[in-house]
Amino acid sequence: MAALNQEILSRVAKPARYTGNEWNMIKKDHGQVKCRVALAFPDIYEVGQSNLGYRILYHILNKAADIVAERAYAPWVDMEEELRRHEVALTTLESGIPLKDMDIVGFNMQYEMSYTNILNMMDLGKIPIWAGERGQDDPLVIAGGPAVYNPEPLAEFIDFFIIGEAEEVFMEVARAFIRWKEEGKPGGRREILRRMAGLRGIYVPVFYDVIYNTDGTIAAIVPQNEDVSRRVHKRVIKDLDNIDYPTRPIVPFIEIVHDRIMLEIFRGCTRGCRFCQAGMIYRPVRERSVDKLKQLVQEMIDNTGYHEISLTSLSSSDYSCLRQLITILNETFAHQGVSISLPSLRIDSFSIKLAEEVQKVRKSGLTFAPEAGTQRMRNVINKGVTEENLAGAVKAAFEAGWSAVKLYFMIGLPTEGEEDVRGIADLAYKVLDIYSQVTRKRNVRLTISVSSFVPKPHTPFQWVGQNSIAQIEEKQKLLVGLLRDRRIAFNWHDAKLSYLEGVFARGDRRLSKVLHRAWELGCKFDGWSEHFHFDRWMQAFADNGLEPAFYTERERQPKEFLPWDHIGTGVTTDFLRREHDAALAGQFTADCRRGSCSACGVCPDLGVRVVDWGKEV
């Protein structure tokens, strides 16, 4: 931040978080600029700078000569103290402009427990937190990202939301703003919001009324007039090969969470795991072609100097031309010292050859996500993976030389019983046994990471009750007892944090008062354990007469109007309900990419289709 002086910077940890000047940073002369956008990420630099969505938007917006996009991150608590003490506003990295002086401030809704940081950044940026209190000269405060599919808890703070993929619509928003500004801002704030509501994929909450039943459930969310659509549908980019990709990403000085080239190989996933919101909201699958990817990689290596490529997607081992892609990448780039990494792999499409191809240059750890400990439970969640698949995959990995494996699981899934939780431990020990059989050694490092299931909107499980805190903690205790082995590292998530995540994931507009109160009480960086204050959150609920269990543990009725029913992902509620019922019956639904269409509704509804380069798997 250019406005920061040396005195403040020398007093805080990792001052380079705030000073910018990174390779590929874009700094424009604002003389020609007609729309200034702050891309504000509600966490610290190291987390936000890794975010691919923001890299894409930074690149696309800055391509236009009359638009500038600059970055802002949540200052860490020590810097916040300095800013408040010296009465310095939160500014953008590139030009040191206070957030309140930007035209549009866009927040990323990456994670429900970052919402207090959104409020805090607005406050530090000197922007009125309640949307209703903003005036003519205040920026438009907008939000988008994965959690936007239930925007209601933030509806009273955000002027409008971008639903879906923002590459095209964000530009439309900027152009609409410029037009309004050049016309002299006729009609004030109300008018620009009205114009934005006319763009596809934009949800303006102030134009909708929420009507409640006496029991606290929602009767309806209705538009106030016919200008505004009853349901806002997400935007989808049809052809990823022909959309801009950031081949000149910023190269940070300090270490960030994902310090490598991120290559987005496809979007969407049609496996249909029933707990997974991403699988529902990013449909349909759209792949980039191998040729395009190879071209992108070369440009990114030349422009950054990174030597590691991460093949990013929801399920990278499902990329239809994966073997071909990896072979080509290795042939072209291995001698340049560039290595490839794959995030979590699906167990059933893994093989030794793939593993060896991927890690020709450098070996990293392997991660798999069985998600549940028994076959019955896996069928309920539609994760069509068997114990044979897992055994085969880890056997192949161990034979190829890996000795470190990480397995992801969830507890708190619907219909879960104690034997399903025990099943996690059983699988862990089976993996250890396989290692001993293959290598005759005991130096394996097995990490078991167990998160707590949070039911999400727009999934087949959006109606189910979430486990209580006590239920989760009991299951965690059981696992701690079962996984006592030196070869196993057992990680779990704070049950109270997951519980609150559940409240905001499926919450409604009334939660805005709770959120604001929690922030007033000092809640921020809730995702960081040293700053998470569950007692303050409980006080915020009590002060507003709301019960968290209403949002989490309560099972929703099939005909209940859910707080996100006015936001459209293209997937029909009928499909979700069918999948919900199939789950309870333990039935499996196949991937529509390679099997038959399961009629989720996305393709006809949104005029899109699956783009699968369909070569050998």
């Binding site: 040396q6 001052p15 000073t19 000085f253 300090i254």
Partner: protein
């Protein structure tokens, strides 16, 4: 072949750490597509070496790096390619192709020069101030405690201070020149010298607002101060 370079760390990157700088340099080298020598084994990395780590918050006009290249590439071509890839705030000043295998920078560099600009919290008499500095330097022992995650270590930093003098004076601030030894048992940081001075003598310096700049890294031998670029062994 080894390429030895002198480079600067300027204001735009004052707050990056030594590790950050090393990473940035490595990426610049890769972008420049120089024929870098790589180490063997599981995790190949490029072969570079530095003289002395520079702290966060300190700029410098004289940092040094040794880069090992395989194959031949004319020095001027390499430097030109690299210059185009250097981030804002890191500039290459001089370079030298080291034809024989030189001794490591870290082994031969044994002296560092700094300037420290420090504001005064109130008006002080100059003569009196300089007397305090003399008194500070007259002490045979100046003890300083360094804390680290592994625990605290107290050491005598006086022998590491070669020279400390006032080179500029105004009513609002003082500018010092500091010369310290770099030994294989460690060195002393400019801020450590300042904070012990402030601790022991009530000199009204606002040391947390000090602006520190490294002005020289030297190979001091036989009473000569040599540039690392000129030293093979």
């Amino acid at each position: 072949m080894k390429l030895r370079m002198q480079f600067t760390k300027e204001e735009p990157v004052r707050y990056i750490s030594h590790l950050d700088l090393a990473r940035a340099f490595e990426r610049a080298l890769r972008r420049a597509k120089l024929p870098l020598a790589m180490s063997e084994g599981f995790n190949p990395h490029i072969k570079v070496a530095y003289a002395s780590a520079l702290s966060v918050g300190v700029t410098s006009e004289c940092e040094y790096i040794d880069i090992e290249l395989c194959g031949s590439m004319p020095g001027e071509l390499a430097i030109a390619a690299l210059r185009e890839q250097m981030p804002v705030g890191l500039s290459i000043v001089r370079n030298q192709i080291m034809n024989e295998n030189p001794a490591a920078l870290m082994k031969v560099v044994n002296m560092a020069d700094y300037t420290m600009e420090v504001p005064l919290s109130r008006q002080v008499d100059r003569m009196w101030f300089q007397d305090q500095v003399e008194l500070f330097l007259a002490a045979p022992e100046i003890m300083f405690t360094r804390s680290s995650p592994k625990g605290n270590r107290t050491l005598n930093i006086r022998p590491l201070i070669q020279e400390l003098r006032v080179i500029q004076w105004s009513t609002a601030q003082v500018k010092f020149a500091l010369r310290v030894h770099i030994t294989d048992k460690g060195s002393v940081k400019p801020l450590e010298v300042l904070s012990t001075l402030v601790q022991r003598h009530d000199v009204s310096l606002q040391e947390d607002k000090a602006i520190i700049h490294r002005t020289g890294l030297w190979v001091f031998r036989n009473n000569n101060t040599l540039s690392p670029l000129d030293v093979i062994k």
